[in-house]
């Protein structure tokens, strides 16, 4: 009713409402046809969402499952959705004493200030550069490592190797950075060995030019093993018969990897790549915070450390919220675009509108 009356008042909106409503039957029919649900009464009732009995029927059927999701939904609501509302302080001159409701509104002034701050753009540039390097040099390594681990035939040896490569993931960044400093630093193991043998010491741990190399190495060392877990699971799902048939057909190791292993991994690789893209502005905080002063803010200030220095050090929470909001929006756009691309490539991506 209301739609119609507004339609009369503003004729221009009527087509819009119509097109907005139009697609709704389509997914239902696609779902019916495509997914091969058992045809029958329930499918037909699906067409009228909101009508009583089917909903109750579904509830009766699925209530255990729904119940199981409740804790997760509760967690999301308390720790994600509710705090998300706090983002409105991006449009305020927020201070905790007056609270979200009492702080003065300043519109987009905080955004303007952020976008005109050269340090913000420098942090964005550093973040993107680091993310790009990670994407190219870090992302493939767990895949290669997983294939390598998968090819180890002795189960016991494989278990040992896996445990070893997982382990660094559980070290904190403080420990990782200290380890690197102790081994590769100017007074570290290697440097002292070099010195005692009359060579110049290594100077990479405080050299801004070596920064990308150092942080990527740290990341590979710490997390490459952990990253193999999902790929190993995917590898386990590849049908072993395919390998046997291929071997019978005379395919060598490389052929089998190229034509069986990698295609088997493809959906997982694409999925993780999309997630990684959405996360591209989140290169991590601790690792960079810990080494910011060693390499200088010019190369090592990333968005997260920038936000930290904006908010906690000067107490300007609104500026931090603005930067966080921008980060979130960019991440969302990247995920949507990458997902679209994945669909174009015939993959499922992270989700598909059913």
């Amino acid at each position: 009713m209301t739609e119609r009356t507004t339609g009369v008042a503003h004729p221009g909106t009527t087509p819009g409402t119509e097109t907005a409503q139009a697609p709704s039957p389509a997914p239902a029919s696609r779902r019916r046809g495509g997914r091969g649900r058992p045809p029958g009464g329930s499918a037909r009732r699906d067409r009228r969402p909101g009508s009583g009995p089917p909903f109750l029927a579904k509830l009766r059927r699925d209530w255990q499952l729904l119940l199981m999701t409740l804790p997760a939904i509760g967690l999301l609501a308390v720790f994600h959705y509710t705090p998300t509302l706090g983002n409105i302080i991006a449009f305020q001159e927020y201070n905790p004493w007056d609270g979200v409701l009492g702080s003065p509104w300043v519109g987009l002034a905080q955004f303007e200030r952020l976008f005109t701050d050269p340090r913000f753009w420098s942090a964005v540039g550093n973040t993107l550069l680091i993310a790009a390097v990670q994407l190219v040099f870090f992302f493939p390594i767990p895949i290669a490592l997983a294939i390598l681990l998968d090819s180890v035939m002795t189960p016991r040896l494989r278990l040992v190797l896996q445990s070893i490569v997982y382990m660094p993931h559980f070290f904190s960044w403080v420990l990782v950075v200290t380890l690197f400093q102790q081994i590769l630093g100017g007074a570290g193991l290697f440097s002292q060995m070099l010195r005692q043998n009359g060579y110049a010491p290594l100077e990479i741990m405080s050299n801004p030019d070596a920064f990308l190399f150092v942080v990527t190495s740290q990341m590979v060392w710490k997390d490459a093993g952990w990253g193999t877990i999902i790929f190993l699971a995917a590898l386990a799902a590849v049908n072993q018969n395919l390998y046997e048939s291929a071997a019978v057909d005379g395919a060598g190791r490389w052929r089998r990897m190229w034509h069986i292993t990698l295609p088997g991994l493809r959906p997982v690789i694409i999925l993780l790549l999309i997630l990684k893209l959405g996360d591209i502005l989140n290169v991590g905080f601790e690792q960079f915070y810990l080494q910011r002063d060693a390499f200088g803010a010019n190369v090592s200030e990333v968005l997260d450390t920038f936000i930290y220095h904006q908010t906690l050090v000067t107490g300007n929470f609104s500026a931090g919220a603005v930067a966080g909001l921008v980060k979130g929006v960019v991440g969302l756009v990247l995920i949507l675009v990458a997902n679209k691309l994945a669909h174009k490539m015939g993959e499922n991506g992270i989700y598909r509108r059913s």
Partner: protein, 566 residues
Amino acid sequence: MPPKPPRSAFPLYPALPARLPRVDRRRFLGLMGASTAAALTAGTLSSCGSTGGGGGGGSASEATTLDDLIPTHIPFEGVAPDIPGQHGAPDGFTSYPDSFITAVPETPGRGGEYTAMAPLWSPLPPGLGNNSFFDYVNGRLGATIEFNFQDGNTVIDKMNAVVAGRDVADITMFPDWVINLIPQFNRAVGELFEDLTPHLAGDAAAAYPMLANLDSDAWRWNVFNGKLQGVPWPAEPFGNWVLYRRDLLEEYGIEPPTSPDELFAIGEELNDPDNNRWAFGDFNLSMRQIFGAPKQWRYEGGELIHMFETDEWRASVEYMRKVFDAGLVHPDIVAKGDNAKELLNSGQILFNQDGLGAWHEAYMGVLGDNPDFRLDLMPVFGAGGNDPVMHRGDPSAQSVFVRRGMEPEQVEEILGLINFCAAPFGTREYMDYRYGEEGVHHELNADGAPELTELGHAEVNDGYYFVSGRPQAVTESQYPDFVQWKCDWYNHAAQFAEEDPFAGIRIQRPERFSGAETPMTDKVEDIIRGREDLGALDQAIADWRRDGGDQGREFYMEVLQEHGRD
């Protein structure tokens, strides 16, 4: 076992914990200035100049003419110090007294029950009911204080929430740097905490002789918006200086330096990377003082000149660059590692700047294994024949507030408890609230110094120690030569203390002003560490002026004018 040292007595320089937002105290001062300015005029004490919540205001409270608001200073005749402090330096006690003086003859409490909130930089002790130390001191107080301790390393996060949630304890302690970091604290303080002016101003404080004994500057620092709000923790005048390995220098047969050039020469002579020994850690902040730069502003010919704009500061940066270029600084410190203490204690470096409290902390950790281990503070000297300019810390390092809305009798009872906890070194009360009951929580050793028993180690904590401040004194006589050396250094150094044009004025710095400091400090680190040329300094200073420096200058100039100091 040495007695429990007052490690946490220096929460301002909390043992330079691993990775606070940087140890440079100036940065802590940097405070969100989204605050409305509640500046206080000198004569009328009326609040003025509220900038209505807009961005970037700061605020200032005047203190020098607030003598009507603070307690009349009545010195307490306690144990006479062995080395009296000069020029404002703390007194030194080279031994524990033979008998302890009773400072508070009557039980202060009337059976009240109160909560207290304080940060703690040590493991949590057993709570009230399971802790005989609490029972003993509460018995001495005649009232029950139940503590709610915060983790000292994250106290800022907690206190921000406590203030914003208006959920304070009956007795609440804030480190001063936390006060400076809490936005709108100036507004919060009057709403949350009792105005102590009627109870303590002028001669009223005579009822609390231990509080009347506290330094007046420290009291002034606790005036907010024309009201005396907090009980101070009088602070030692200086926070950081260069510590050096006196034992190793004596081994080398080298006298401590008396000029920057001598220091450099010593560094070059001792630097020996092949044998894992470097001369220096970082001592940027001390170098500024040696070269004579102001702590923040210098008032000269009607103009305010910021430290960044002085030739003295530039000279100190050039000097530090020279030191780093010469490879005299340990690579871990070049890479901004946080292990300078360990490097100094293990002899991998010989000079390092740290909080003064690091000295006896190092003794506590190292002397047991290495009885010949000796540190000392580098003698204070100037550059080019000039005197150094020693930067004073703020007069009060932490404040204790009483919750608003209690009956006047309750406030008086609480002040009585605070008075008890303000008893200075050498009193019975001091021994009680710091070390518990003799024979139970501590024993006196042959020198008359307390040593915690096993029970004492488990239960004794700094809770009551943090309920009030007391006159600072150097008392760690259990360490060889410590009191003598530290007092000698202090009595020499204190005469060079800077005349700060803003002394005694509590200032919340405008946000843009403190915000502009981060890129500037980053740039200076880049220059000192050789990542940028010295020439980049001019551009950095120009940027700093543009991004908030000049705005800060105006703000500070107004503060001066408001207080008639221009």
